[in-house]
């Protein structure tokens, strides 16, 4: 085990997979000469050369399409989006090409590629650069989606994504890149897609979440523990495929759940989780499932309004007490 930042863990994953498999290559804006906007591809141009680490024009639809084409003919491209906000420009290639190709080619043409970059709001980047894009990707059958919250999960999930034969989006977080944690240094360490992880154990209430919100949930759980309430924090890690068994297991134990995400509430990931709980865990529920999300508005630039708009540990604590009938 080594202590790495989330950023270094991703870099290790890329280097190890490029080393292991010649068909893996990286493309995106400033990934080569500049080492990536967030330095995730640091040193890779020098190590693997400009055929495998490719700077592209500012043209998300174009280079994403290039990636899809390369994957169709046998390469394993890793497309970096400077942020997933910009990938909205490329959604036609993601949804209409990458996600549907296997289906439309009667199973003959797979698209083994990875889309990666940060999702969610950082700090004061304005409405257009501060949104969680999970729902855009999770909505369409054919794309897998993972959201690592820790350095170990970042490395293990990115490696699993590169090895997977379907298109996989790996959504990171700008505020996560400097988070440190223990990471196994085994070259074949992977975190399988579709397996959730219990980040904290408790039997009173289930906080189910993904991505950076795992840290907000853990902070809330710490506050609740001071009041004698033990929260189970379930990090989904993978939104497609989804670990439904883990969700049902925690709710069967606690009988109450709160979903935390930094996306919009309307038709959000949490809405999907609530639907599953209604269908499969109805008789286990002692309270309606609540969601803590970004407010249903474009992100304000004003610092205080931004803080108010985002989910916070305080709001998670409040929701947990509500489902516990403890307020």
């Amino acid at each position: 085990m080594a202590e790495l930042t989330y950023r270094e863990a991703l870099n290790e994953a890329l280097a190890e997979e490029m080393d292991r498999d010649d068909s893996v290559f990286i493309l995106g804006e400033e990934v080569a000469e500049y080492d990536g906007a967030y330095k995730v591809s640091k040193g890779l141009l020098e190590r693997f050369g400009d055929k495998r680490v490719v700077d592209t024009p500012i043209s998300e639809l174009g280079f994403t399409g290039l990636g899809v084409g390369a994957a169709m003919v046998g390469l394993r491209p890793v497309v970096e989006f400077m942020t997933f906000n910009f990938s909205i420009l490329a959604l036609d290639q993601v949804i209409n090409s990458a996600a549907k190709m296997l289906h439309m080619s009667n199973g003959e043409i797979g698209v083994p590629m990875v889309f990666r970059g940060p999702t969610g709001a950082a700090l004061q980047l304005g409405a257009q650069h501060s949104q969680a894009c999970e729902t855009w990707y999770a909505h369409a059958p054919g794309v897998k989606l993972v959201t690592p919250a820790t350095p170990a999960d970042a490395k293990g999930l990115l490696k699993a994504a590169i090895r997977d034969n379907d298109p996989v989006a790996v959504m990171e977080g700008e505020l996560l890149y400097n988070v440190k944690g223990e990471v196994p240094d085994d070259d074949d360490f992977i975190v399988p897609l579709g397996v959730a992880d219990r980040k904290r154990e408790g039997d009173d209430v289930s906080i189910i979440t993904h991505g950076r919100m795992v840290h907000v949930a853990l902070q809330a759980a710490g506050q609740l523990a001071k009041e004698g309430i033990e929260a189970d924090v379930l990090d989904l890690r993978s939104l497609r495929p989804l670990d439904v068994d883990a969700i049902l297991e925690t709710v069967a134990r606690t009988n109450r759940a709160v979903y935390v995400e930094d996306g919009f509430p309307y038709v959000g990931i949490g809405a999907q989780i609530v639907s599953i709980l209604m269908e499969e865990a109805f008789d286990d529920l002692d309270a309606p499932v609540l969601r803590v999300t970004q407010a249903d508005i474009p992100m304000p630039y004003n610092k205080k309004l931004e803080a108010w708009t985002k989910p916070s540990a305080g709001r998670v604590v409040e929701a947990c007490k509500k489902v516990l009938y403890a307020d």
């Binding site: 009988n255 109805f282 008789d283 286990d284 529920l285 002692d286 309270a287 009938y325």
Partner: protein
């Protein structure tokens, strides 16, 4: 909109009620909260209050007739409001017709001919087809988990009061109801005092205890009973009763042997808390207070009024409470909180000439004493046959909670206290 007066669940186990008396007649004006009828439940005669303002327009269930909980038994409406949907035609629907036949209840879901012919069907009326008994004029709100737990335990939700938002019944309400008996409809100081966590201790079940519970339940049924019998020499207890009664005579009070038995049982339970317990299914609840249920025969049944904190009360007070509650029990006037929440029970059939018997445990309690009569019996003492006043006590134990040796130790203490009543003071 007319207010339907429904047969309400006035006792925890009530399924139907008999209208003893209408206190308002058709045509009387009523306001919400007015007592409009006396209803006899399975346990007591209770008062039914109006839950709407207006005129009592229609009585659908006559005095003496019964109706299932939830059924409409009368209608309150404005003086000129259309109530034809309830099958009311001018001057018809007199209550007398319905007297002793089947419940003549107009179920709103099955419109009578009159309603079917009415041009304006009551489409705005909320469907009541499968609604549970009306409480506060609406359906019972309970979380899905609470409903499942109640169904598993055979608990009637209409007898449980909800602590969640808008009175929603949630898991903790079911847990309270299962361990302490269902709560009274009105707030009462006694049951709330019972809910204090300091009053009991929940012991988690050891693997051995779980195995004992499972195996013995498989063997005998839901409550695995076993029975322990002792003979008690009641000579000293009879003397104690005489001297206490001599003291009480000028106050016009007296005690019975049964009062002494209640007091001795409570004192013995205090020393053997393992017997003063409830079986919760996944835990054993051991109580720090002793509430003795005393079985009282009433016409067509029995009921167990409770002497609370019997270990801390004088015999005269216990006697007074038992006689007062037994009197009201026979008149069916006991409130639910007066007969739910015992930690242990006593059934005494001595006065009926019963020598010995076994009593059936009242779950979730773990034990009950069956007291036989005091009889002059030849007994061998020091090689001599002498005549003694003997009484036989059989204790029924829930083997999931109480083992043979535990019950035997409790009975030994009880015998010691009855054979030497002074021991209760030690």
């Amino acid at each position: 909109m007319p207010t339907k007066v429904r047969m309400e669940a006035l006792s925890p186990t009530m399924e139907e009620g008999q209208v003893v008396k209408w206190l308002k007649s058709e045509g009387d004006s009523v306001t919400s909260g007015d007592i409009i009828a006396e209803i006899e439940t399975d346990k007591a005669t209770m008062e039914l209050s109006a839950r709407g303002d207006g005129v009592l327009r229609l009585i659908l269930v006559a005095e003496g007739a019964t109706a299932p909980v939830g059924d409409v038994i009368a209608v309150i409406a404005g003086p000129d409001e259309d109530i034809s949907q309830f099958g009311a035609s001018a001057g018809a629907g007199g209550p007398a017709e319905a007297a002793d036949t089947a419940p003549p209840v107009a179920a709103p879901a099955q419109p009578s001919d009159a309603a079917a012919e009415a041009p304006a069907a009551p489409t705005t009326e909320a469907p009541t087809l499968e609604g549970p008994p009306a409480v506060e004029g609406g359906r019972i709100k309970a979380s899905p988990l609470a409903k499942r737990l109640a169904a598993d335990a055979g608990l009637d939700l209409s007898a449980v009061s909800g602590s969640g938002p808008a009175g929603r019944i949630v898991k903790r309400d079911i847990e309270v109801a299962l361990t302490e008996g269902v709560a009274a409809p009105a707030p009462s100081p006694v049951p709330s005092a019972l809910t204090s966590a300091a009053d009991y201790e929940d012991l988690s079940l050891s693997q051995m205890r779980k195995t004992i519970a499972r195996r013995l339940t498989e063997s005998i049924g839901p409550v695995p009973h076993f029975f322990l019998t002792i003979d008690v020499d009641m000579g000293r207890a009879i003397e104690a009763r005489h001297s206490i009664n001599a003291m009480l005579e000028k106050e016009g009070r007296k005690i019975s042997l049964n009062d002494l038995i209640i007091r001795a049982t409570a004192a013995a339970l205090r020393r053997h808390p393992a017997c003063n317990a409830h079986w919760l299914g996944d835990a054993i609840r051991r109580f720090n207070r002793v509430h003795i249920g005393v079985a009282v025969a009433v016409e067509d049944g029995l009921i167990t009024p409770i002497v609370r904190d019997a270990d801390a009360k004088g015999v005269a007070q216990i006697g007074a409470e038992v006689r007062e509650m037994a009197g009201r029990a026979r008149e069916r006037k006991l409130k639910p909180e007066e007969y739910t929440g015992a930690t242990f029970s006593i059934s005494n059939l001595g006065m009926f000439g019963i020598h010995e018997f076994t009593a059936v445990i009242n779950p979730p309690e773990a034990g009950i004493l069956a007291i036989g009569g005091v009889e002059e019996t030849p007994v061998v003492e020091n090689g001599q046959v002498v005549v003694r006043s003997r009484m036989r006590i059989t204790m029924s134990c829930d083997h999931r909670v109480i083992d043979g040796a535990t019950g035997a130790a409790f009975l030994a203490t009880l015998r010691e206290m009855l054979e030497e009543p002074g021991a209760m003071l030690v």
